[in-house]
């Protein structure tokens, strides 16, 4: 398959999948079959692009000219390649999980759910392969809108409220700030193409760089940089598979991916480093990182705690970009993949706990680990990976980020990363510990916890959890392909 076709198919497959899912809405088995086939085909197609991109090829496709001089254009480069791989690969796992979850919880409107999911994935792939900022913006907004029906899936008052916050913040930041930044860039640079080294060098300087950077960073609301993070906890009203793939992977990663794209290909790290305007972004990211971790400590609702943990982890990536050094950029990008694998595992586990035991609060989980050993074991793996302990993949993201901080001479940032790891331990570890060693509520004081019957979530959920937990392990031992893919970003 030639790379141009593969790029177009990457958008075409999920879109036609959405159409077929809608057609087969009345036959659930066939419909889910379509979802799985679509996901597998998509991943297969994305994979075919990898060897070329590894060898330095940058296949491009130009569609229609949307505005004079500004076509809808796609170009595959390492960062987008990685993002597309992560999103499409995890979609397969997530689809398996969704089938178990949605059926076990007897959710309504499942056809709409799968249709929107497929459209959201097409938008994500559009973001990953976007060849200029306009194309990226188009799919960025498409992703916001296609996920709105997923967030408000339950259709009750809480869902409406959550949806309002979700859409309000994401559209406000993107139209009010990001679009202005894009228009400004177009005005001064005369192009919106993603070019290594940036397009703004020599066009803007001094504090103006800072203002434009501010517009971009707060305009990319999906990156959830505080104080525009409220939409992410609000989106947790969605069914867990949505939280898992979209609000731990596709949507939030689209945000930090855009941050990386803007820093690397619009500003260029040299321009940022020379102007010194990256420093304040670094401090903001560090603050967001620590504050979100502290907030996570206070949350008793499991999904809310994970959401704040995501806010904090996203700030790592922004921090990596803000360091404006080669290692920082590579570390931030790597963290996108590593965190995706860890966090989706955690969300899968949260959903499994909800499905099997109908528990949503951390304080209710005492002793549940003995009832659901597999789920809690996977949770432990995911948590260790997020914290950044070997032998799990999360280590590598933090490792390169710390290298980047040293390269930039920012010892304070290294300290921030370490403190944050400690905070991660503080808010994640109590969950498996409580699960395995806490007292079950139905046990009387003093009595030894006796053997309990094992009651896990449906099999498809467990398969999905197993795959991603194993993935965390694999990424520790084989980070090399990922590193080789991302290396051109920094050097």
């Amino acid at each position: 398959m030639n790379p141009q076709t593969a790029i177009l198919l990457s958008l075409g497959i999920p879109l036609s999948g959405a159409l077929l899912i809608a057609l087969f809405g009345r036959q659930p088995n066939l419909r889910e079959g379509v979802t799985l086939t679509t996901a597998a085909l998509l991943f297969g197609t994305v994979i075919t692009l990898v060897p070329g991109v590894m060898d330095g090829a940058r296949p491009t496709v130009t569609l229609i000219e949307m505005l004079p001089g500004l076509p809808l254009r796609f170009e595959v480069e390492p960062l987008g390649m990685m993002f597309a791989l992560v999103a499409s690969g995890l979609w397969i796992v997530n689809s398996i999980y969704s089938i178990g979850y949605m059926r076990a919880n007897k959710e309504a409107h499942q056809t709409r759910f799968y249709v929107c999911f497929a459209i959201a994935l097409a938008s994500t792939l559009g973001i990953a392969f976007a060849g200029n900022m306009l194309t990226l913006f188009v799919f960025y907004e498409a992703l916001t809108l296609s996920t709105y029906p997923l967030v408000t899936h339950k259709g009750d008052a809480a869902a409406k409220q959550g949806g309002r916050t979700y859409l309000g913040i994401l559209l406000f930041t993107s139209i009010g700030l990001q679009l202005l930044a894009i228009l400004w860039t177009w005005q001064v640079a005369g192009t919106l193409d993603f070019i290594p080294g940036g397009i703004l060098a020599g066009k803007v300087s001094g504090p103006v760089v800072g203002v434009l950077l501010l517009l971009y960073m707060y305009g990319i609301g999906k990156a959830a940089l505080m104080p525009f993070h409220r939409w992410l906890p609000a989106a947790m009203v969605a069914p867990t598979p949505v939280s898992a793939l979209l609000h731990a992977v596709a949507v939030v990663k689209a945000g930090v991916f855009t941050v990386m794209k803007v820093v690397v290909y619009i500003f260029g790290i040299d321009l940022l480093a020379e102007s010194g305007q990256n420093l304040w972004l670094m401090y903001l990211a560090a603050a967001s990182l620590l504050i979100a971790s502290l907030v996570a400590l206070t949350k008793d609702n499991l999904k809310a705690r994970l959401a704040y943990s995501t806010v904090s982890q996203l700030a790592y990536v922004v921090l990596g970009a803000a360091l404006a050094t080669s290692w920082g950029v590579i570390g931030g990008s790597m963290h996108i993949a590593m965190h995706a694998m860890g966090k989706i595992t955690l969300f899968f586990c949260a959903g499994a706990i909800y499905t099997a035991a109908h528990k949503t609060e951390v304080s209710e989980l005492s002793g549940l680990g003995r009832v659901m050993p597999f789920t809690f074991g996977a949770f432990l793996i995911g948590a260790l990976s997020i914290i950044g302990l070997p032998p799990f993949g999360g280590l590598w993201g933090k490792w390169y980020l710390a290298l980047g901080a040293l390269e930039a001479g920012q010892i304070a940032m290294v300290a921030v990363l370490m403190i944050s790891s400690l905070l991660n331990i503080a808010y994640l570890m109590p969950i498996p510990i409580k699960g395995f060693f806490g007292k079950s509520p139905d046990h009387t004081e003093g009595g030894n916890p006796g053997p309990v019957a094992i009651k896990e979530a449906p099999l498809p959920c467990l398969i999905a959890i197993g795959i991603t937990a194993f993935g965390c392990l694999v990424l520790f031992f084989f980070p090399d392909p990922l590193y080789r893919l991302l290396r051109p970003l920094g050097f």
Partner: protein, 495 residues
């Protein structure tokens, strides 16, 4: 042979069909004739625009009388484009009208209705096509008088007061325009716009010319519903029959914008309008206020038709901003927004008309649970709403992009921010409707009798316009291309 007389046919076909409709008396026949006439008008308009793009401006001497004695029809890229907009909306609305009018207008008045609608179409096309200042006034009166009738045909009795209010304001506006034209005739001795353009510059200092300029601006501003001259519009749109609202919202204000463009740039000339009179000091603040105030007012409306009406006044603000910039980019934005907003607002009002057909009301509360009961209609409304917000892949995004670009080109950051803020306000008022339609359960009593979709004859025109808002939001080569040509032509270069 026929091709040479296209400019005349453009007007004659609907003009002659109008009284025939009245003679046919039966509503169905009148509708069929009106449908044919409106489609013929669209064909004429498209052919004319093609011809203009290929060979440059067309000058047609009505009855063979050479200007300045006879009336000249003069078509260039600007009014060629506006002709297509008006005729396209006419052609889309006409098939829709049958079912909607059957429900909203008493049977015995159907023939009158189609007569008035065709006359209104004729008037708007006439205003656009003519190159004669007095002829413009005549056609403007034809369209205005017929639109008073159309509004008064609304079922609600408040339609009568709305029509009366519009009649008073519209007549003041028309009078101002005729006074302006009269003053110009007094000092120059000609009514032909090109002649006027030649003779005006030497007498630019004359107070009579300044007075004429002021009268024309205010007069056109009244017809345009330019803030703060907009008070007639919300009532007129809210109580008129749905078809009329959709037709007027998509065409009447557009033609008024065209009148402003024609007088400011062709007749008086850019130098006069923007260097001697410094019009931008008037237009830009008014545009900004219109966007902010009317978008905010729209948020608090309980009737969806009224809400969209206030949104229309805000949209006029965007168009006026583009005129105020007086640059190629600004005018391109205004002209392309004429088209884009016509498609968007036309589509929205048609979708709303489908709702009114089934529910008999456009009150926000009555839309509860409608997302389930009329999925196609409500989805069309949501897409139209997204275009109003300016989401990418819709025409609204294109308009905003070009307009903000024009503002930034002038270094006017404040206005750029206002335009984007207007989008954000639009999110609020559109999403109020979305939440009611999709998140509230259908009222108990009606749940037993689920309301079906609107008939295809109404859904198809709605979706044609909504489809156009998507299509022209992706492929802009036609709309932006013509708009840019028109802008260059107005500023005195190219065709």
């Amino acid at each position: 042979m026929i091709a040479a007389h296209l400019p005349a046919l453009q007007i004659v076909v609907p003009l002659v069909s109008a009284p025939l409709c009245l003679l046919l008396r039966r509503g169905g026949l009148a509708w069929a004739l009106a449908l044919i006439a409106s489609w013929a008008a669209l064909a004429c308009a498209v052919l004319l625009l093609q011809q203009v793009i290929a060979t440059g401006p067309i000058s047609y001497h009505l009855g063979g009388w050479a200007p300045p004695w006879g009336i000249e029809y003069r078509i260039d890229a600007v009014n060629g484009f506006v002709l297509v907009i008006v005729a396209a909306i006419g052609a889309a609305v006409m098939p829709y009208a049958r079912e909607s009018v059957a429900r909203e207008v008493p049977e015995e008045q159907h023939a009158t209705f189609y007569t008035a609608l065709l006359l209104c179409l004729t008037g708007l096309l006439g205003v656009t096509i003519t190159g004669d200042a007095f002829n413009l006034f005549v056609f403007l009166e034809i369209s205005s008088l017929s639109s008073y009738v159309l509004i008064a045909l609304g079922r609600d009795r408040r339609a009568l007061t709305a029509a009366f209010q519009y009649l008073v304001m519209g007549t003041i506006g028309a009078t101002f325009i005729v006074i302006g034209v009269g003053l110009l005739y007094m000092v120059t001795g000609t009514l032909n716009m090109l002649d006027l353009a030649e003779r005006l510059p030497p007498m630019a200092e004359s107070r009579t010319v300044v007075a004429a300029f002021a009268f024309l601006t205010v007069g056109a501003g009244l017809k345009l519903a330019l803030f703060p001259l907009h008070f007639w519009l919300p009532n007129a749109y809210a109580y008129a029959p749905s078809v009329v609202t959709a037709f007027l919202a998509a065409t009447a204000t557009k033609v008024s914008v065209y009148i402003l463009l024609r007088f400011f740039f062709t007749v008086f000339g850019t130098t006069y309008s923007f260097e001697l009179v410094t019009l931008e000091n008037l237009l830009i603040p008014l545009g900004v206020i219109a966007i902010l105030v009317c978008s905010t007012v729209a948020i608090f409306q309980t009737n969806v038709k009224r809400m969209l009406a206030y949104s229309s006044i805000a949209q006029v603000g965007y168009m006026v901003l583009g005129i105020g910039f007086a640059s190629t980019a600004g005018l391109t934005a205004t002209i392309v927004h004429l088209f884009n907003h016509a498609m968007t607002k036309g589509g929205l009002f048609l979708a709303l008309g489908c709702v009114v057909l089934r529910l008999g009301s456009a009150q926000l509360e009555s839309l509860e649970g409608l997302g389930r009961r009329m999925p196609l209609t409500m989805f069309a409304f949501v897409l139209g709403g997204l275009s109003l917000i300016g989401v990418p892949l819709t025409v609204g995004f294109i308009s905003k992009w070009v307009l903000v670009q024009a503002a930034l080109e002038r270094g006017n950051w404040f206005v750029a921010a206002v335009i984007l803020l207007g989008s954000l306000l639009a999110i609020v008022y559109i999403w109020r409707v979305v939440e009611v339609a999709y998140f509230r359960p259908a009222p108990e009593g009606d749940a037993a009798a689920p309301i079906a979709e609107a008939p295809l004859s109404m859904l198809i025109p709605t979706w044609v316009l909504i489809g156009a808002t998507i299509y022209f939001g992706i492929d802009t080569s036609l709309t932006l291309g013509v708009a840019e040509r028109a802008a260059q032509h107005l500023l005195g270069g190219g065709a």
